[in-house]
């Protein structure tokens, strides 16, 4: 059980600034999920905490102790790897016991810890098998078991579910969450999958080009994305963006496509005519409201709901996606209305969220 604090962490590889400035603190027992597209620096961040890379600047503190320069094995941290990284020539038991043996635990203590972890993970019958005799899900469990037996202060997960098929991934996701809660071990979890991020994290850190784009609870990130990047990254299908300008002394926005929409949550500060980007999620568009005319390109029925891909009739207009319950109307153009209470307002120049009054 421990807290983790990152202060001013930076990492440069040659001329490439991979991590620009990370400040972060995890409370005891918290599960923080780091999410972002590939190349955003999330794996580097994890490896800095693990001690597999050394930061260019900044400190890592675990439970108040500065561990920035410590060897990985001296940090009291365990890690679950993307490809499991099981030792191919060791049995399941030896895979879990290896780190404990190096630490010089007694035979009996090792046996007790491995047995306990195996029971917890349902690996009891597989202890003598070699990794190649296991299914993907079982290997995943062994990798978790190897981390658990160490009884570390901190768990690190590096995209641990990305090699599993969709069904198993859902199952293991729930299992990881349950285990982490039960053991109460502070965890950092890296993923590129936004569903995993939403469901697993106590808090999310969305990363973009080496910078933290937003750090908040999953629902906050979803409901009040800090910028257009976060808004487009979290939520599927992705949010629609429409260009607009500020009007009516900040009380409304006029879409380039025509209509003016009044803000329901209060006026925005800024000069008349300021360039804005309005964001609206596909499920927050209403078909049948004659606010906008949308040209339909493609209809994707998903069963319980339907996705309509289309675009505004103006030249060069961005594509739009509308999610409707049930079937979609069969026509080439549809009337679509924006649910103003779900509107997200961004500064078009900076991409940052524009909250009421700001």
């Amino acid at each position: 059980m421990a807290t983790l604090e990152l202060n001013g962490l930076r990492k440069r590889f040659g001329d490439t600034q991979v991590l620009r400035q990370i400040d972060l603190s995890l409370t005891d027992g918290e599960m923080l999920v780091i999410v972002g597209a590939s190349g955003c620096g999330k794996s580097t961040l994890l490896r800095l905490v693990a001690g597999l890379e050394t930061p260019t600047a900044g400190t890592v503190r675990l439970d108040g102790r500065d561990i920035t320069q410590l060897d990985p094995s001296a940090r009291d941290i365990a890690m679950v790897f993307q490809n499991y990284a099981l030792y191919p020539h060791f049995s399941v038991f030896d895979n879990m016991a290896y780190g404990l043996r190096i630490r010089g635990l007694s035979k009996a203590a090792i046996q007790a810890r491995v047995d306990a972890a195996a029971a917890m993970l349902g690996l009891g019958d597989l202890l003598t098998r070699k990794p190649r005799q296991l299914s993907g899900g079982q290997r995943q469990r062994v990798a978790m078991g190897r981390a658990i037996v160490r009884e570390p202060k901190l768990f690190l997960f590096d995209e641990p579910l990305s090699n599993l098929d969709a069904k198993l991934r859902v199952q293991m996701r729930a299992e990881i969450r349950r285990l982490q809660r039960r053991l109460g071990i502070t965890s950092l979890y890296v993923t590129h999958d936004q569903v995993e991020a939403m469901t697993l994290g106590d808090r999310l850190l969305v990363m973009h080009e080496g910078r933290p784009a937003q750090l908040a609870t999953p629902m906050e990130v979803f409901e009040q994305p800090a910028d257009t990047y976060v808004a487009s990254f979290i939520g599927a299908p992705a949010m629609n963006f429409l260009p607009a300008i500020l009007t009516e002394h900040g009380a409304a926005a006029r879409l380039d496509a025509g209509p003016t929409i009044r803000f329901t949550d209060g006026p925005r500060a800024g000069p008349e005519g300021m360039a804005l980007t309005l964001g609206i999620r596909p499920e927050h568009l209403t078909v049948g409201d004659p606010q906008l005319r949308v040209q339909v390109d493609l209809i994707e029925p998903l069963g319980s709901e339907t996705l309509i891909h289309g675009h505004l009739p103006t030249a060069g207009a961005p594509p739009m996606v509308i999610k409707v319950a049930g079937r979609a109307p069969a026509s080439e153009a549809i009337a679509v209305g924006i649910q103003a209470e779900h509107l997200h307002v961004f500064n078009r120049e900076t991409g940052m969220r524009k909250a009421p009054g700001a």
Binding site: A50, Y87, R146
Partner: protein, 276 residues
Amino acid sequence: MNRKPDYLTHAVLALGVVLFALPVWLVLAGSTQESEAITRGDLSLIPHLSGLPRYWQVLTEGTRGAEPVWHMLAISSAMALCIALGKITISILSAYAVVFFRFPLRKLAFWSIFVTLMLPVEVRIIPTYSVMAQFGLINTFTGLWVPLIASATATLLFRQVFVAIPDELVEAARMDGAGPLRFLRDIVIPVSGANIAALFVILFVYGWNQYLWPLLVATDPSLDTIVIGLVKMIGIDSDTDWAAVMATAVMALLPPVAVVVLMQRWFVAGLTEGEK
């Protein structure tokens, strides 16, 4: 798919088998017969069981002007084992250093080893001899094998094998607290077991089959390998004891062939994977 036996294939393969087996069979049959009969050309293709004691005689006493065969077999075995194990050892160590560490002049070290791939012993006979003389290694057992373990082939193969070990495995071991030597012993060597086995076969055969090198550095008959001894025996033009030569040939063939056949599975995979 037709299930009719493929006669053409069987014929071609059988022909190939005979092409290789015939000389060996001749030698095997001849080794049990009288030398006079062989010289006369009355070599029968059927071995005579009565001739088997000749093996014991050749093994313990040898023939005129040659060491007993057991002694030559012992030298060959020791030489082949030392070459195989020595080369595997230094190659694992150097490949491990080059792959798993960053140290000054690492690339230079690698390339200076790599370049020797292009210099077989045969092209530097005389100067190597003079260097050996300066080390006092002429007519010593050390001189027979130590210079032969320096070549780059095994180092390159291990480098290839080690590079293929996933980074995550190294990281997992580091998180588990394994230091570099422990990682080498517990993970790298066991994981490369099949490659080590394959290389052992290749190098054992390489060591056993050396001819020019021992001919050059060991003129003392007590250091004669079995291959050297055998060629010496046929060198005596007239009055060769052919049956003894044949029995010696059979015993010279047996160890390397046994190693190749018994370890065929690893050897074939290791050879084709490593050389390409």
